[in-house]
Symmetry: C2
């Protein structure tokens, strides 16, 4: 499916190095919109819709606030810019701890990849066992961008067990039980992204899924010879 | 081996609900001491000696400081006291978040268990492949408390790979690459404690090792049918 991709107005500190495009179908009627396919979830499950937008487009950053902790939740595409450019926008990367810089740079992704990720995550969320019903127009839109939806098809990308939509609302110690996860944690694009149980995502760490399976297979070989 | 166990003076805020005992052999000559078997490591590798003492005796607590984050690194045996008693010492458990309380209470352990854990960890550290040589008197002491030391015998309790002593000094983003780990994370005693790679300890999470191996075995069954 071709998207409209008309540029939309950008606000905020980084507006000169950011972009926003209409994600609706090329030739659509009515207003342009960046996340039109999230209109239903935004009403029925605003926390889920916000999580999808946030995880798709923002870096994480440090949990604490301090001089050297760096910016929390900055647009991923801003992190594609050089230190020199970022300094012009008041972000002094050289003043941050190397670990923080590495973590921020690792999350860098193009605007287009982030937008594809958001749509993919929405498509996946609607295929969870107890997901709300997907309105026909949104279903048609998402299916033409990806492939036909199959009820209950969405599993944790790490452990391959079904993922219940209700886990989005469950939180332990302030952390949701579902996290956005990556087959390769250093690539943020739609083919590489999915949902995972929080504990699975943590166990995977910064390994690719392939490395993770190899690693746990080696552990079991040593434990059960 | 029988220990001296003579009470030693206790200082600090919680001194009335704390204890300190001599860990030297019963009938020893010279001064009493709580961690005499760490005298060598305290000189040659003070960070390792301090880590062993800290991990054996202290809770972790929150990484940040705030009203409801609770005390950071409090003696584990203090956490055996009731909310009422702790309140008398100025620690209002009821004011902490439930998750913080659970985390603190989970780390509770008797003084004796903590002291056994410290000795066991020292015994394990000296059996790492590139560990410093253990002075004969300390070796004799630790071997009579546990069992004969075997060079390079200490492995990660999770992945069973050898653990290099040099990893104590390696740190990524301020976190040492070796952590004190527990076969059952809710029991702090010498039979249940060991060292693990940081990534292994994180992957294990709050599962027992048995649960962890069962869990990863299930994952592999689903991934490679």
């Amino acid at each position: 499916m071709d998207l409209c991709k008309k540029s939309l107005p950008v606000r905020g500190k980084y507006k000169d190095i950011a972009e926003k495009k209409c994600c609706r179908e090329d030739g659509h009627e009515g207003e342009c919109g960046e996340f039109s396919y999230l209109s239903d979830l935004s009403t029925t499950h605003p926390r889920v819709a916000n999580k999808i937008k946030r995880d798709a487009t923002k870096t994480t950053g440090a949990a604490w606030k301090s001089e050297d902790a760096g910016p929390n939740r900055i647009d991923r595409w801003v992190m594609l810019q050089s230190d020199e450019v970022l300094l012009q926008y008041g972000l002094n990367m050289a003043a941050l701890k190397p670990g923080v810089v590495a973590k921020l740079r690792e999350k860098a992704a193009t605007y287009d990849d982030c937008m594809e990720v958001a749509a993919k995550l929405t498509w996946l969320a609607y295929q969870m066992p107890d997901a709300p019903e997907c309105p026909p127009t949104i279903k048609k839109y998402l299916e033409s961008r990806f492939s036909p939806m199959v009820a209950s098809a969405t599993t944790c990308i790490v452990c391959k067990e079904p993922l219940s939509f209700s886990l989005f609302e469950n939180a332990q110690r302030g952390k949701a039980e579902i996290e956005t996860a990556h087959s390769n944690p250093r690539e943020h694009n739609q083919t590489n992204v999915g949902f995972a149980h929080r504990e699975c995502n943590i166990a995977q760490g910064n390994k690719t899924l392939e490395e993770f399976y190899e690693w746990i297979s080696g552990i079991l070989d040593r434990v059960q010879p």
